[in-house]
Symmetry: C2
Subunit: 279 residues, 2 copies
DNA sequence: CAAAAACTCTCATGTCGGTTGAGAGTTTTG
DNA sequence: CAAAACTCTCAACCGACATGAGAGTTTTTG
């Protein structure tokens, strides 16, 4: 081996890159060895080619694709690289936003799991302060209490598609819930009013995004939609017996949902709640 | 088609997913159609299976891999999902850091391109205020001015590997530079002292990371390392003629580098500089 | 100077999360 | 009952490599 020339292994080592990557780069024309032995087909590089390889690695670190890098290297056009970078900048910003949403969602989910593990027994009634929340909601087109779970699932689909249409990250589609008018609840009629998902507090209020005020809520816990009618009744009875004055609409909130156990049912942890006023 | 069953196309549509994705999920066991016609092999889903599909899509939105999702669904273990999520959280945070670095590097590069286009003619001498900078540096093991570009390239490799060893993002490896002691410069001897890369201002100072103070610098612009000796000489002459008192070490800074034009040389834009004191 | 070790070659395959397409068969619609 | 719409399986493709087989080459070692 001549003094000046580096074998592919040496070139790889001094550049912290793998031999196969160098071969790939040769194949796609990113960086060709300066000399190829015509008999053995061995590739040999010149140390000066490091400059080009540095450039390649730098552009890669900027997130450019190999195809783009090749175009830049072929054209030698600084305008081209600039336009690619400006485009890339947008991409990166979007990715960061997505990651932020993901991170928040992951944290929410971990918390939700913790809550699930420490959850009260089914049927427990509590009186809790619940901070304010924001929801993305849609009126239900049918009273799904009168029909089966299929109708509820359809409503859910519509909510999901509506979220997508409104360009809201689909990641919010989880922990859904439904509301019922105070009047219906008090009169013991199960009449669905709205279906919703919780969203970030910093979304501006609008037609579909509204705020549920904080306050004291009487709550009852359960683990299946099937039991909602019965437990809603118990909740109402409890309020009546204890003379709590229902101060707003009824909410059925999904705290945790793991549809992992079988295909047929949503494995859930629910909290039915009504705001109550003291005095 | 029975009332209860959804064809794969219907299932796809109501879930905003493609038919082929559903087939893939079937194949890898994420979600199996509840009924397959034994003659036509057509897949049919139940609307209740949306719950499982929702779960899948949600976990996907959290950045989980399909394999992980399958494991969670198979085991039905909330501990498993939690450990995956905790791990994923770390990943996401790392990714965000990387993206932040990328974004900064992209912006620097775009600026550098702009600067390149508005750069003064070769040989221009300026007197400029240069804000303080931070550098990651290594002493040069040989005086590369005495040897060829190969020796300089070797020093560069060492700097690069040193960066990697110190766990500094490789993205800083760009816009390298070298320094020379004030004494050497004043006596007209070309003796390399250090080789460096610029790093973020918020890195803490250490053995290898130090601060170059802000100040007025006499500078000369050029476009090739080959010309450095000559232009360094001109810089010194200029200082002498104009009675500028050299106040610190000489710096050779790479402002822009595009090794795109050929394999043999670094296509560069350089600024030689010495700090000067006015009294 | 020969044998062993280390290296390199080409070519094929796998990774992930799908998408696209071909060619054949099935269901729905008018 | 024909046409349109749908679905099936199977294979190939994307990007940026990694891995491995089997053959050949170079370098090191004794």
């Amino acid at each position: 081996m001549k003094n000046e020339l580096l074998s592919i292994g040496e070139m790889a080592k001094i550049n912290n890159i793998s031999v196969s990557t160098l071969r790939l780069y040769d194949e796609i024309g990113l960086i060709k060895p300066c000399y190829i032995d015509s008999e053995s087909r061995y590739r040999y590089y010149n140390i000066r080619q490091n400059a080009r390889l540095d450039m390649i690695q730098y552009m890669k670190a900027l997130g450019m694709e190999l195809k783009e890098i090749r175009e830049v290297l072929e054209s030698g056009d600084t305008k081209l690289i600039e336009s690619i970078l400006i485009h890339r900048k947008k991409q990166v910003k979007e990715q960061m936003q997505n990651l932020n949403l993901q991170l928040a969602a992951i944290s929410r989910t971990i918390e939700s799991l913790e809550r699930y593990r420490k959850s009260p027994n089914i049927g427990t009634i509590t009186i809790e302060y619940i901070p304010h929340r924001k929801i993305y909601s849609m009126p239900t087109s049918i009273n799904f209490y009168e029909y089966g779970i299929e109708v509820y699932e359809n409503e859910l689909r519509e909510l999901k598609n509506s979220l997508i249409k409104h360009n809201l990250p689909q990641i919010y589609y989880c922990n859904a819930g439904t509301t019922m008018k105070k009047k219906s609840f008090l009169e013991g009629r199960l009449e669905s009013d709205e279906i919703f998902v919780l969203v970030d507090d910093n979304f501006p209020e609008s037609d579909s995004i509204k705020r549920i005020e904080s306050g004291m809520y009487v709550c009852i816990y359960l683990d299946s939609f099937d039991d909602e009618p019965e437990y809603a009744k118990r909740l109402l009875e409890y309020c009546t017996e204890n003379n709590y004055k229902v101060a707003g609409d009824y909410i059925c909130e999904v705290l945790t949902e793991f549809s992992v156990f079988d295909d047929e049912k949503r494995g859930m942890f629910l909290r039915l709640q009504v705001p109550v006023a003291f005095r």
